[in-house]
């Protein structure tokens, strides 16, 4: 049965869960570019990014039953899987041992099982960018290094020549500030 192009993302994921290949095609149409962009941002290599994107969509396809509408938007779930897949690939390419590497599936499993992945909901990309722009450059830098460069606390401290405790506090402060900004935005919208 043809898919209504206006189908919601959540309903589209339900079709994917039912092994509807046309739904997967539409999911790619909607988020393929974003997923590839995330993979490329992590890997900085087009070939590796293509492979990671393909692996991520295959994970979504084969593990679609793990997605739960109560735990977040399909786009966030897909892009999170893409980021983790790309970082796994980055570790392979860099031949990194598990000296610091945290099992990302463990993180996803632990966090994804207790609360929505996208609370608050970053539906508005421009809004998200405006919030990020209100972080200090130092805060954005540590988030970028942690989130996309797979750097641990210790590695960031060494890379930036900053005390470890400062790095830790900066990461947490950045996340708290994002939360505060979001709450502020939500209150402004409500009034």
């Amino acid at each position: 049965m043809p898919i209504d192009p206006s189908i919601s993302d959540a309903d589209l994921m339900v079709r994917v869960q039912r092994r509807d290949e046309s739904a997967l095609a539409l999911l790619y149409d909607r988020f393929g570019k974003a997923a590839y962009s995330v993979a490329y941002h992590v890997l900085q290599n087009s070939t590796l990014a293509e492979e990671a994107t393909q692996d991520a969509f295959l994970k979504v396809w084969t593990q679609a039953h793990l997605w739960d509408a109560n735990r977040g938007k399909p786009s966030t779930w897909l892009l999170t899987i893409t980021r983790f897949t790309a970082i796994d690939r980055l570790r392979v390419e860099n031949r990194r041992t598990a000296a610091h590497a945290v099992d990302l599936d463990d993180v996803l499993y632990t966090l994804g099982s207790v609360a929505p992945m996208d609370e608050p909901t970053w539906a508005d990309e421009r809004l998200a960018k405006s919030l990020l722009n209100r972080l200090s450059p130092e805060q954005r830098q540590v988030l970028e290094l942690a989130y996309f460069r797979d750097m641990s606390h210790s590695e960031m401290a060494e890379h930036l020549a900053i005390p470890l405790g400062t790095i830790k506090g900066r990461v947490r402060a950045a996340l708290h500030k994002l939360r505060d900004l979001w709450a502020e935005q939500t209150e402004d919208s409500a009034t």
């Binding site: 092994r19 290949e21 095609a25 790619y28 393929g32 570019k33 590839y36 995330v38 490329y40 941002h41 293509e50 393909q54 692996d55 969509f57 295959l58 994970k59 396809w61 084969t62 593990q63 039953h65 999170t80 970082i87 610091h100 590497a101 945290v102 099992d103 599936d105 993180v107 499993y109 632990t110 966090l111 994804g112 609360a115 996208d118 609370e119 970053w122 960018k129 990020l132 130092e138 805060q139 988030l143 942690a146 989130y147 996309f148 750097m151 641990s152 606390h153 210790s154 960031m156 470890l164 405790g165 400062t166 830790k168 506090g169 900066r170 947490r172 402060a173 950045a174 996340l175 500030k177």
Partner: protein, 280 residues
Amino acid sequence: MHMNDGLDPGTGRNGDDPLHDDLAAFSLGAADSSESADIESLLAERPDLRAEAARFAAQATVLLSDVPRRQPPPDLKARILAAAHASHEAHDPTSSIVPLPQPARASSNLRSTLLWLTSTAAVVLLALSLYMFGEVNALRSERANLESLRSDLTQQVNSMYADLAMAVDLVMQNQSRRVELMSDDGEMRAMVVLQPEMHEAVIVTHDLPALTPDQTYQLWLIGPDGAVSTGMFNTDPEGDMTKVFKVAQPWDRVSALGISVEPRGGSDAPTSKPLAVGEL
């Protein structure tokens, strides 16, 4: 866990909260492995901290929106769908839609391995499918060739049986005649067995020279009207052959038989000196 060892004026916070510092790092996947084990143990016992870490992770997803957009290659979609299709084919469609129970926490590495295996298996299956598709097509083509060859061989064998039956019939006739066709060096190169009342004859050759691909042997009936072709033939590698010929004219108008080498497709009249000749 590490204790906070500094203050970051740029953040506006004093950072004096090592527990939440480590939670924040863990939620981004940035905790050191030594910290992670401690955090995971703690999260297993503290639902409030798990919720806090999940909120950190949720806030971090905003970073996904800020990634510079890049256009993927046009064929990436087709590759993904092909791999998904191959994966789909390999799965039981009824079992694949049944939600699996959440695995035990301790089996997360297994989950990771299974995910990797599943995606790798899909890619391998796709490659295998493409390879098998090519192999099946090659086998189909080969089978068609073999069927054609079998049909040709069957026709040849049936023709040989018919010729042999006719030859036996002719030879067994009391009125049959044998005509030996001799070469210039006095060697018998062929024998024709005919029955004057019948319009068939059998020719049996022996040790005829090999022909080139563009040549054929031609048998001639020689009489008052000159040489009349009664058919073409080729031999096996040893120069041997047995064949039945239809004879259109009465035998009493034939005075001799001759074999010549002619261009492939035959000639209206002999174009070379007869290789062997026999008089009736």
